[in-house]
């Protein structure tokens, strides 16, 4: 029996989805609708905007106002939508390649404007849709079809990037902890400004297999063992911190929100 969430928020006629067995994207997609359900948002008032890639296929399965845009441009489309109809809760679904490579500039500037958009990055460390090329978040040394001898690029810390660019809510979670993702999405939507939620997901098919990371369960176990919550991390001394990935709410800030600032100009006439 599918859950009530599926019946209520999914366009079930378009299921099953296209994702591979073991893919973590379903966990994140469920977290999105669970967060929306917890916040009791009206489906008519939610707009899901996605780019191109595996993650970005999620928009089609979800029963809201949805748009699957061009590669990297989800945030630019979302900016137009939010400005045109500020009543919409605009949520962007994007991937690591979509958001950090081809769409990197749009991410920086959406964050800089602090426009009220919640961005959820499904970070699977690889270009999955095109068959496993290395992405801006593929760890240095790991392999992709276009990094057959190991990736020599430095990998991006997207949360640092978003925070530096001006996002007022920044968090990271993994598909090992679905409840943490849900909470972060709720808080991201509640934040009046640009919210950036990086969720580390798993791609056993392309990233995992090539890099001998085991199956989906092994990869999720790895996430469990190699992440540390920010509150615990902050208590550790510098030398005890190690190189575990920090998850949790990493930053909250307060700045004027873009659409509200623009409305003040309109009201001044």
């Amino acid at each position: 029996m599918p859950s009530e969430l599926v019946d209520k928020y999914f366009r079930t006629e378009f299921l099953p989805h296209i994702w591979c067995p073991g893919c973590g994207n379903g966990i994140v997609t469920r977290a999105i609708v669970k967060a929306i359900d917890n916040l009791e948002l009206n489906q008519d008032d939610v707009c899901i905007v996605s780019g191109i890639g595996c993650s970005s296929r999620a928009s089609g399965y979800l029963d809201f106002n949805t748009i699957h845009t061009t590669h990297g441009r989800a945030l630019a489309f979302a900016t137009g939508i939010k400005l045109a109809n500020p009543n919409l809760h605009v949520i962007v679904i994007t991937g690591d390649g979509d958001c950090a490579a081809i769409g990197g500039n749009h991410l920086i500037h959406a964050a800089r404007r602090n426009i009220d958009i919640t961005t959820i990055v499904f970070n699977n460390n690889i270009y999955g849709m095109t068959g496993g090329q290395y992405s801006p978040t593929t760890p240095t040394g790991d392999k992709g079809t276009t990094a057959p001898y190991g990736n020599i690029d430095a990998n991006f810390d997207l949360c640092n990037l978003a925070q530096a660019a001006g996002a007022t809510y920044v968090s990271r979670s993994t598909v090992h902890g679905a409840n943490m993702i849900i909470k972060q999405i709720e808080n991201g939507i509640k934040n009046k400004g640009f919210s950036f939620i990086e969720t580390i997901t798993v791609c056993p098919t392309y990233y995992g297999r090539r890099n001998k990371k085991g199956d989906a369960v092994d990869m999720i176990d790895y996430l469990k063992g190699n992440t540390i919550n920010k509150s615990a991390y902050d208590k550790l001394s510098e030398e005890d911190r190690g190189d575990k990935l920090v998850v949790g709410e990493l930053y909250r800030g307060e700045r004027p929100e873009y659409v509200e600032s623009y409305d003040k100009i309109i009201k001044s006439f």
Binding site: G60, N65, T66, I67, T69, G80, I81, A84, N85
Partner: protein
């Protein structure tokens, strides 16, 4: 009778005024010479009428933002020039396949690449037609005076709404930056076309279904309760992706034919002294103004010259050009490029008459004297 509203106005300003008269409520753009005044004036005027302006981080973001805003219900426009128009091609294709009304202004400058940023050129005729990948049709309009920029911008919005398609407004740098007298019509004299909203409730709405007697699907906006899906993938009438060969063929054909089957409605042109013309010149935009002057001189010398000036550059006024071809001794296409529209006229008219071309690509206007010599040299 009300007092006439006569103004001295720059071409780029007339474009903004026309857009606002047509109902523009959203503008996203990126600064680029020689179109920048369109952004500056939109930034100044839009918030005063409850509209919104945003300067985006680049040209692609700008066209993406106007597509988003249009889907959320606002009439939207962006303006750019050559290098920016190259970048717009991605969003242009998206607006074509997803059938989102919007207006893209290209105040042309010399190319390729950064080219001649402050000089006129008419080199983007073919890019307007074929710049974005894949099979498609397009509507592109080409005004020749400041007054016509005003009326043609309104028409660009109307056609975008009526045919649910991006409309390109090609402008010449010299007219964009020239000031001319223009009479602004009263609001109620301006004919405005708005997209057709759904005639059914959300439960029966199919976002890409063509209702009997309609040319394009009815269009809901995000946030109105219809909860539809939009994609740049080939889709069926539900809006969801399909790779079914028949449905794919149907969609691309429908997008093409909704414009090509309505050429008579879309095509607008001026015929100047064509009635008895033996030497017919085809020209558009700024070049057409030099041609008019040349024709007056040629006529004074007894040469029966006339002009056909397409205001709609795409789709092509095939029927009219064919008729001219049957009557004229010669057709000369005069344009500030290396024969882009000539290739079109030649295809249509060369089976009836000889078709010649004259052009230049040095950033200088073509003068009436040059045109007179070209025609006289036969």
């Amino acid at each position: 009778m009300a007092e006439k509203n006569i103004k001295l106005m720059q071409g780029n300003e007339a474009c903004v005024e026309g857009a606002i008269a047509a109902g523009m409520k959203f503008y996203a753009g990126y600064p680029i010479t020689p179109s920048t005044e369109i952004a500056e004036l939109s930034a100044t005027k839009l918030p005063k009428i409850g509209g919104k302006f945003i300067q985006m981080e680049d040209e692609i973001a700008s066209i993406s933002a106007i597509i988003g805003a249009s889907l959320a219900g606002l009439k939207s426009m962006t303006a750019t020039s050559g290098p920016g128009f190259s970048l717009k091609q991605e969003g242009l294709g998206y607006a074509i396949i997803s059938e989102v009304p919007c207006v893209i202004v290209n105040v042309q400058r010399g190319g390729p690449s950064t080219g001649l940023p402050t000089s006129p050129a008419q080199g983007d005729i073919m890019q307007a037609r074929w710049g974005t990948h894949g099979d498609h049709s397009i509507i592109a309009l080409y005004p020749s005076t400041v007054k016509e920029i005003y009326t043609t911008t309104i028409r660009a919005f109307n056609l975008a709404e009526k045919y649910r398609t991006p409309v390109i407004l090609l402008m010449d740098e010299v007219i964009a930056h020239m000031r001319e007298k223009i009479e602004i019509p009263d609001g109620d004299e301006v004919e405005i076309y708005n997209r057709k909203k759904p005639s059914v409730g959300p439960e029966k709405y199919l976002p890409y279904e063509i209702k009997e007697g309609d040319i394009v699907p009815e269009m809901a906006s995000f946030g109105e309760g219809y909860r539809f899906h939009v994609t740049g993938l080939v889709h069926n009438e539900t809006g969801f992706p399909t790779s079914n060969p028949d449905l794919s063929e149907n969609l691309v054909n429908r997008l093409f034919n909704k414009i090509e089957d309505n050429v008579e409605d879309i095509v607008e042109y001026e015929e100047y002294m064509l009635e008895d013309a033996e030497e017919v010149i085809v020209a558009y935009g700024a070049t057409a103004r030099s041609v008019k002057s040349a024709i007056e001189s040629l006529r004074a010398e007894g040469i029966k010259a006339g002009m056909f000036r397409p205001i709609t550059i795409w789709p092509v006024a095939e029927k009219q050009i064919e008729d001219i071809g049957k009557k004229a001794k010669r057709i000369s296409v005069i344009e500030m490029n290396m024969g882009q529209y000539y290739s079109v006229i030649d295809r249509i008219a060369s089976k009836y008459t000889s078709v010649d071309r004259y052009g230049r690509v040095n950033g200088e206007l073509i003068t009436p004297e040059e045109i007179i010599s070209f025609i006289k040299e036969g």
